[in-house]
C-alpha cells in the first residue's frame, strides 16, 4: 500500500464532519482515494463533495439574507 499523504485542500472526513469532528484525511495516490484514520471512511473527491453538500443542507437559511431583527 502507498504512503498516505496530505491531499488537495486538506479534505476533512465527511462522516466525522457530520458529527462535528474536524478530522483531516490522508490521500492514497495509487488508489486516488481519501481515507479517515478515525471512522474508516474511504472515498474519492466526488464522493466527499457529495457528502459535504449533504452536510450543508442542515443550514436551511444558508443562502437567505436576514434583515429583520
Amino acid at each position: 500500500m502507498a504512503q498516505g499523504r496530505k491531499g488537495k485542500l486538506n479534505y476533512r472526513c465527511p462522516r466525522c464532519l457530520m458529527r462535528e469532528i474536524d478530522m483531516d484525511m490522508l490521500y492514497d495516490r495509487d488508489k486516488d482515494e481519501y481515507y479517515c484514520l478515525r471512522c474508516s471512511f474511504v472515498g474519492d473527491e466526488k464522493e466527499i463533495q457529495r457528502l459535504n453538500a449533504q452536510f450543508r443542507e442542515k443550514y436551511r437559511s444558508r443562502m437567505i439574507r436576514i434583515k429583520d431583527f
Binding site: R5, E20, I21, M63, F69
Partner: protein, 609 residues
Amino acid sequence: MSTFYLNIVHRPEMVPEYIQKEAEQGKVEDLRRYSVLQESLDIFRTQQQIAHENGLRTTIQMTYASLFNAEAVAIAKEHHEQFGDEIGSTFLGLQCAEFREKFKSKELAIWLFAMEDKRKIVDEVFGKFYEVFGFYPTSTGSYYMDAELVNYIKEKYPMVKAAVATCWEEGPKAYWNANNSWYTLMDGGPWNPWIPSKRNIHCIASDEADDIGIVAIPHLSRDLMAVFDGPGSYYGTHPQNILRGMVYENREIPYFKNIVDQYRAMVKYNRGYAYNMMYVGPGWMSKGGRWEADYAFLLKSYKDGMAYYGELKQQGLLQDLTMSEFADVYRQNRPYTRPECTLWKDILYGSQRQMFWYADPDMRFCLDMNQGGAMVDLRPYAAKLVRPCGVGTKANQDASYPFLVQSLYRAGFFTHYAGEGSVKSCKIGVGSEQVDLCACRTQASFSEEGDTRIVTLGPVTIEFDGFSARVQSIFRLTEGSGEVEIVRRILDSTNPDADFSLDEYITACYGTTEYPEDLTGVRLTLVAADKTESIEYAYRCREAEAENVQFVEAIIPPVDTRLTMRADGPAAGYFREGFSFSPMYTLGIKKIVKAKGELRTWLKVAKAS
C-alpha cells in the same frame, strides 16, 4: 443614540500552527523556515490592506515572534503613522526559535504555563515590545487570559486597558470538534465585552474594588445559538470560521452579514450599544487553502466581510475603534451593575427559535424559547470563584467557569428514560395530569421598566382531559438584585373551575464538562413557617416538602454558591435529592390556583461563603 462599535485585530503571527503543520509534511520541525515566515507576513500585509481599503482602522497585535522581524515591525510602525492603527501585543504566536531557546518549552498557550513562567513570559514579551517600539502596549490578549495573569500584568504594566480574554463557549465542544486535541477549555464567559472581576476573568466585576482594571473582549462575536450546541470555530464574525462550518453555497456567505446585523440589533437590549470584533490569524488564510476552500475563496470571504463593515461605516452605522479606544469608550458609560442582554434568534437552521442570554455581576444564564423559556444554562458569577489554571493548579487545562445548569452537557428536559437533567422550568398540573413548559414552544419579546429588564413569553396552550388553558411566563430582571423574578400565569381556561398546580422548579448540579461531579456535601434546606429541614447530599433520594415555605436553598461548596428560591405569598416548597444514575438536586415551589391565578417566585444566586 445607537452605536455599533467594531474592533478589527490583526496579528503578524510568524509561525502559525496551520501553515507550519502544512510546511512540515514529511520534514522535520524548523521554526525559522523562510517560506512559512514569508507567507505569514504576506497574509498579514494583505489583511491590513483589505481593512484600509475599506476605510477601517485596526489593532495590530504584535506576536513575540514578530518582534524579531524587522519587516513586521516596520509595517506596524508605518500603519500606525499612516492609518492610526494601534500597536498592541498578543500572547498568541509565542512559539519561535527565540522563545524556544529562552524558555525551553513548546507550550503555545499563555494561560497554561505555571504562574512563575507566566510572569517571566509577560516580562520578556513586554520588555521586548518596549525595546522595539519605545513604549508599552495598552492592549493585549490571547485565546484566554486568566485573572491571575491579568492581575500580574496590571500590577507591572498598569497602562494596559484592554485584552482579548476568552473565546465564547470554547470548551468541551471545541475540544471534541478538534479530535480532542485543542485545549481551549474556557466555557462560561460573556459573549460581549465586559469589565472582569479580579477573582475570575469570566465574571463581570461587581464594583470598583472588584474591577480587574481592563476591558475584556471576547475572541470574535459568535452565533449565540449555533455555538451553544456546536463548535465555536464554525459560527462567528470570522469568515474562515464560517467556511470551516461550511455555511455557504456557490462561494457566497450571507450568513456573515446576518450575524453582523443581529449583533447590530443588540442596541435594542443594551441601551443603544452594540459591538463586533473580527480577529483572523494568518494561518486561516493559507495560500495552500484550508477547510475545503482554496486561497481565492479564503481571500474573497475576508474581502466580502470587511467590505460589509466598510459599507456600514460609510453609511454612518458603525464606528471602528482600536481596542484601547474602545476600552475608554466602554468605560465612559457602563455602570458595573448594568447587564448585557440579547434575545438571539436562529439565523442558520430555518427555525423560529429564540434564546435569551443575560449576564451581570451575579450570573449568566440562557432561556430557550423552544422549551417554553426554560433556563438551559446558569453560571453563578456571584461566587466569583478563584480558580487559577495552568501547570501546578488543580484546574490545569480546564479554564471554564462552572455551571449549575447546562442542559446540553447534563441532559435537560429530555433524558434517556431515567432520572432528571439540569434545567429550570415549571410544571402545570390538573389532577393526575401534568405538563412541563419545556414541551411548549413559544416566542418572546423584550421590554424595560426603569432598571428592570422584562422578557415576556407568548402564551402557550396546554391541553388537559376535556379542556385547555393558556399559560404565560414572564421573567423580570431588576438590575443589581442578583435575582430572577419569574411569573407563571394562567391567563384563561375553558374550565373556569379547574384547580391548577404550578410547580416552579430548578434541577441542577455543577461542573464544567459533560461528566458528573461529586455532589456529596451539597446541602439542601427548606425553611417553612413551622418547619425546617436540611440534608447533606448522599445520593439517597430523600425529599422534603412543607406548606408556607419561606425559602428553599442549595449550598454547593465546590462552587461556593448559594442557590435560593422564594415565593411572594403562601406556597409549598420542596427539595429533592437525586441518586447516582441521576446526579442532580431539585428545588421547587408549588401553588394551587384557579384561572387568572399566578405563581411568582424569585431565584437568587449568591456567594455561599
